[in-house]
Structure formats: C-alpha cells, structure tokens
C-alpha cells in the first residue's frame, strides 16, 4: 500500500513537472508583440483605434502571441527608452503608433537588427523597420459627401491639428467629396496646433459655428467638436472613432480606422518568418477605413450614394483625387482622366478649390 502510494506520488510529481515544463515552454515560445501609444487608451480616438486593433490581434492569434502596450509615451527621448526596453525584454515585433516615434524607432531598430519594427505614419523604412498608415483621405471623401448633402448653409467647419500633408490631404478630400454633391460648398478651417486639446477644439468649433458652419468635422483627437455640435444643434462628423454616444443627434457618421487586420497579418508574417520591410498604405479595399453607422437623419439616397462610392473606391474604379481637380486659384492640379500618385498625395501642400483661407507657413 505504501509503495503504491509512493508510485502514485512520483507519477503525480512527474506529471506536474511535465505540465509545468510544457506550460512554461508555451509561455516562452509565444511571440511577444509590443505597442507604444502616444496617449492613454481612453474610449475614443487615435490610440483607442490602435488598441482595438491590438485586442483583435489577441483574439485572432492569442494562442501564439502575447501583447503588451505602454501608453502615454511622449515623443522624443522617452520613446527611445520605452521602445528599447520593449525590445530588450523579448518583444520581437514592436508597433510604434505616433509620427514622432520615427527617429527613436529607427535608432532602436539599428541596435536590434533581428527584431521587427512597424512605425505608423512615418516615411522612413529600413531593413527591419516597416511603416503603415491608413488612406484616411478615402474616409474623408465619403464623409464629405454626407456633409455636402446635409448642410443648409453650404458652409462646413473643419477643426485641424497641424498643417502637415496628412491633415491637408484630409481637408482636401473632404472638400472634394462635399463639392461632388454640392458645388457651392465652402470649407472653413481653424488650426488648433495640437493633436489633442479639448478646450481649443471646443473654441474652434464654436467659432466655426458662429461663422455659419452647420456641419463640423475635425482632424484632432477629442470628442469636443461633437459635444459642441450637439449643444449648438448643428451636425458633426467625427474622426478616428465612432463618437455617436457623445452627440446622438449631431453625430452623422465618422471616418474610422481599423487596424486589427493589419496587425494580425503582420504578426502572422513574423510567426511564419516571411516578414519584409514595407511601406503599407491601406484603405477601404483592405478594410482599414470604415464609416461609423449613419445617423437615421441621413436620407436613404445619401446612404446609397456613399455605399456606391465606397464600392467604387474599393474596386479601384474611382479615386477621391481623380481629375479634374483645381486648386484654390482655379489652376488645374490634376488633369481629367488622371488621379494623384501616392507620392503627390504624401507631399500635398496646397488647398483645393472650395477651402477658404491659406495654409499657415
């Protein structure tokens, strides 16, 4: 009886060891994926969309990977340390999700040539650093159609962050979308010189509404423009995230970014050892740009037009910057029958016809 007990015990210990070993082995084998965020995750906005992508990645590949995110990392020297610490603590694939992380990411990537880095919205790639960005302008064009149809004053308000090509491209695409359904449209822009400043965004929205804008959109990160539009009884079109709960009456729709698919594919490529440095610029076709559900006040024919245009952009039969496109002075910048190349899009530094004011120099 005692020996029997002993046997049982030893087998049990053996089993426990094996179980323990496999458990620890599986934890060790899992690919560690790191994310660096510029702001807290919160419940709407730029970082929130990236974190949705991370969660989807975990859902899709959760048995093979673990993810880790560091939030509120300032651009500059702090970023380099955080990225380096992630690499050093065994993260083989690191996504850095803000433009200002570009040079820090490149510096760390040089120190860790065997690890993979993906930087969002930058323009420098190396052997182990890829970049990725969404074709935000496609969503902008679609929301422009909605705004152009819904405005009564023919004046649209745009709260913008910084005069860099990405933001200017968005303003232009939005304007072209609106003008495609309403040639009399005017777009007024106020620059707040911040990606996230609810106070300034609110002031800018109020100023635009005072100047006659009855649809407000924004290329900033907070819910302030939508909240302001709701209070003042005008419409809003949100950016990054669906912000309908902040303005149930005002919020017409939102141009949102979807990263889950990209994160899953990229991580799978690292797992399969097929990852290659690339500058990915994905849009509606790849499922990276989606519109938030339409407010019921948007008429069915507008919804149908948006859906038709969405399909046309997806199958390549239509490009938001398809000629003829005129700049503010009336000069044709894209001839009929042509559309802008990616290179021209990336360096865009002029307003199209319909935008009021000048780009700050």
């Amino acid at each position: 009886m005692t020996s029997m007990k002993k046997h049982v015990l030893s087998v049990f210990i053996l089993l426990a060891c094996v179980a323990g070993f496999t458990l620890s082995a599986s934890a060790e084998d899992k690919l560690k994926v790191g994310f660096v965020y510029i702001s807290p995750v919160g419940d709407a906005g730029w970082t929130y969309q990236h974190d949705l992508g991370r969660l989807e990645l975990e859902k899709n590949l959760g048995d093979k990977i673990v993810t880790k995110y560091i939030e509120s990392v300032p651009e500059g020297p702090e970023a380099e340390r955080v990225i380096r610490d992630l690499a050093k603590s065994g993260h083989d694939l690191i996504f850095t999700t803000s433009f200002g992380y570009m040079n820090p990411t490149l510096k760390v990537a040089k120190m860790f040539p065997k690890k993979y880095f993906e930087h969002s919205t930058g323009y420098k790639t190396t052997k182990n650093v890829g970049t990725y960005m969404c074709r935000f302008y496609e969503g902008r064009y679609l929301t422009g159609i909605v705004a152009g149809k819904m405005t009564k004053s023919n004046t649209l308000g745009y709260v913008a962050a910084f005069p860099i090509p990405e933001v200017i491209r968005g303003i232009n695409a939005f304007t072209l979308g609106a003008k495609s359904v309403n040639p009399d449209i005017q777009v007024k822009v106020i620059w707040v010189n911040s990606w996230f400043d609810p106070g300034k965004e609110r002031e800018a929205s109020e100023a635009l509404i005072t100047q006659g804008a009855d649809v407000i959109t924004h290329h900033t990160d907070s819910t302030a423009p939508t909240l302001t539009a709701e209070e003042k009884g005008v419409y809003s079109i949100a950016y990054h995230s669906d912000m309908s709960k902040y303005g149930p009456k005002a919020h017409l729709t939102a141009a949102t970014h979807v990263y889950g698919d990209f994160y899953t594919k990229t991580t799978q490529a690292v797992l399969d050892n097929t990852w290659k440095s690339d500058a990915v610029w994905s849009g509606i076709k790849e499922g990276s740009i989606e519109l938030a559900p339409m407010n019921p006040v948007v008429p069915a024919d507008v919804v149908a037009l948006v859906e038709k245009t969405t399909k046309a952009i997806a199958d390549g039969s239509f490009h938001p910057f398809q000629g003829p496109v005129k700049d503010q002075s009336g000069k044709v910048v894209v001839e009929a029958g042509k559309s802008l190349t990616d290179k021209d899009l990336l360096g865009m530094s002029y307003y199209v016809e319909g935008v009021l004011g000048k780009i700050p120099k």
Partner: protein, 358 residues
C-alpha cells in the same frame, strides 16, 4: 475635544532635513497600499518600479539622463527661491534655450568644428537669460508679479518654438512634417559609456550643480540672497541691493534652464522638435523643494524624481500598471513633504472644551 494648531517655538533642525526622507518613506508605504489595492503583489511591484529600471548600466545611464535637466534647473531655481524670487518659467526658458542652441546646430549643420557644441551651450544660456530677463525687468521696473509673468511666458515660449519648427526651421526634405534636420555629429554630445545613452551633458549638469553650490553657500552674493529671502527689510538695511538680487534670482533659473534645453536637443533628441521637454521646467520646482533648496539635496531628489518616471514605464511594461501611477507617486511625495514640513513648524494640540470652560 478641540484641535489647535500652534507654531513651534523652535522647529527641530534635524527634522527639517529629515522631512524629505520621511516623505519618501510615506510615499513608498502608500505606494505599497495602492499596489495591493490594484491586486498586484507589492514586493513584485516594488521591484518593478524601483529596482528593475536601474538593474543594468543602461538603466543607470537613463536615470542620469532623466535626472540631469532636473538637477540643473532645480539648482538654478533654488538660487532664486532662496531669495523668495519665484521663477515658475523654467519650462519656457528651457524651450527658448533649445531654440537658440538648435538654431546654431541647424545653420552650421554641415560643419565639423569642435566649437559648435560650446557655441550651442552659450546660445542656450543666452536664450534662457533673454526669456528670464523679461519677468526680471518687469518686476524691478513695474513691480509686476514674477510668478504670473514667468508662468505666462512659458506658453508664449512653447508656442514660439512650435511655430518656428513648423515653419522656417523645418527640415526641407521632411515632407512638411514639423521637425528640424537631424543634427550633425559635431552638434551631438558624445556618448561617454558605450552601449548606453550616458552623454557628456550629464557631466555639464553635475558641474552646474557644483557651481550652484559654491555660489549659493560660499559666495557673498549667495549670502545676500539667503538673507534677502529670510528678511527682505533686514537685507535692505544692510545695504543689499534687492533689485540686483531679483535679477540674479531669475537669471540663474534662466541660464540653467536654457542650458538644460540645449543638453536635451544635443543629447538624447538630436534635432529640434515642436516640443522638447516633457515638463522638466515644472518638475524641477518639485525637485528644488524636495531637495531643500540645497544643491546637494537637489542632486539626490532629481535622481528620485527620475526614478519615478522610469519606474512608471517599467511598471506598465512588467505589471500592466496604469501610466497614471507615476503622477500619483509624484503627488504623494510632494503632499507628504508639505505635510511633514507643516508638522515640523507647527504642532497640533488636543484640548478639551471642559477645561477651557473652567
């Protein structure tokens, strides 16, 4: 029962120097309670927060990189604070210093001269002086409150830097993105320890602390500053020129903040960005007070403050702690310090109303 607050006739000198230590210990104890409430093993959390960031040479280098602007600015501010001159504008003075120094680096971007770095540091110091002389001028001539003026000028300086980096100082080949060219090697502070980011600027910062120490505690002007801070009237009866002390008190912060700005852009950043400081100018105020306005204490408190920043990142990475924990620790430290100082200078006496009735 009544609580009465009375000033102590003679606050204990030992306790005055002990209070930062008491505050640090109380902060740690509260931290452990917070970690436990967050469901973390307090020992592990403690390790992740305070040991993990500095358990290798790279980590120690990071600690000094983070601490060096804090100790340098803290020392400069302490000179003013000792004379009761309240310069809250170090953040802006840092930005202008970085702007001046960065401008030198950008216009000499194709030069290999050895003199570029010293020139950048001089330019940074000049930038800090220019910005700090505005509140000094307004205070001495119009008796304008230096706290408000210096604080407001922070916003002006930060926007000025952002404006120029978005415009004329922008990298012409940078697709219009708001950042300057990367500085040439001649404008980058050399790395002193291979494999870390420990750069020569850390030594400049340490030298600044030593100079501040000698100035404040060994020079006659330093003595005047201390007297003026304790009793302004006594100082003027003794013939000390209070206006001169205002200038010194504000410019000392300006010089150190301006140099700290250059050390940041010529050190770990390597270019001009629209924003070059994550709030060092404000954090240095806490550092100066936790360090008892004494350069030696400021050196130590800057290291503690830097460790809190690094620990916050490490806590996120290892334990999924929220980023806000860093701010909580800083707040706790300052709160306990103020409380300890209060209890050193005042005592709370419990009296019973019955006795008073009789």
């Amino acid at each position: 029962m009544l609580l009465k607050i009375e000033p102590r006739s003679e606050p204990s000198k030992t306790m005055k120097y002990m209070s930062p230590l008491i505050a640090a210990i109380l902060m740690l104890i509260s931290g452990l309670i917070i970690f436990t409430l967050l469901g973390k093993n307090p020992v592990e959390a403690f390790h992740a927060f305070f040991i993990e960031p500095v358990n290798d040479l790279y980590g120690i280098g990071e600690l000094f990189i983070k601490a060096s602007p804090l100790m340098l600015i803290g020392t400069g501010l302490a000179i003013g604070f000792r004379a009761s001159i309240w310069n809250i504008g170090a953040e802006g003075q840092l930005a202008v210093g970085a702007l001046f120094g960065g401008y030198i680096a950008i216009i000499f971007n194709d030069s290999n001269s050895f003199f570029i770095l010293p020139l950048m540091i001089l330019a940074g110091a000049a930038g800090g002086i220019v910005w700090a002389s505005i509140p000094a001028f307004l205070k001495t001539v119009f008796n304008a409150n230096e706290i408000l003026v210096s604080l407001m000028l922070n916003y002006v300086a930060i926007l000025l830097l952002a404006l120029l980096v978005h415009g004329p100082l922008r990298d012409p080949d940078g697709y219009g993105f708001p950042q300057s060219v990367l500085f040439a090697d001649s404008a980058i502070l050399p790395i002193l320890i291979e494999g870390t980011r420990f750069h020569a600027g850390v030594l400049v910062a340490c030298a600044g602390v030593v100079i501040g120490w000698i100035f404040l505690l060994k020079s006659f002007t330093g003595f005047q500053i201390q007297v003026a801070g304790l009793a302004q009237k006594a100082a003027s009866y003794a013939g000390f020129q209070y206006k001169k002390l205002i200038w010194i008190g504000l410019l000392s912060g300006g010089v150190t903040a301006g140099i700290a700005g250059v050390l940041e852009i010529a050190g770990p950043i390597g270019q001009l960005l629209p924003s070059v400081s994550p709030g060092y100018g404000y954090a240095a105020i806490i550092v100066a007070f936790v360090g008892r306005l004494h350069p030696g204490g400021i050196f130590l408190s800057s290291l503690l403050m830097a460790l809190l920043y690094l620990g916050g990142e490490s806590g996120q990475m290892n334990l999924d702690l929220p980023a806000a924990v860093t701010g909580i620790f800083q707040g706790l430290l300052l709160f306990y310090l103020l409380a300890a100082d209060f209890l050193i200078n005042y005592r709370i006496r419990i009296t019973t109303p019955q006795q008073e009735a009789i």
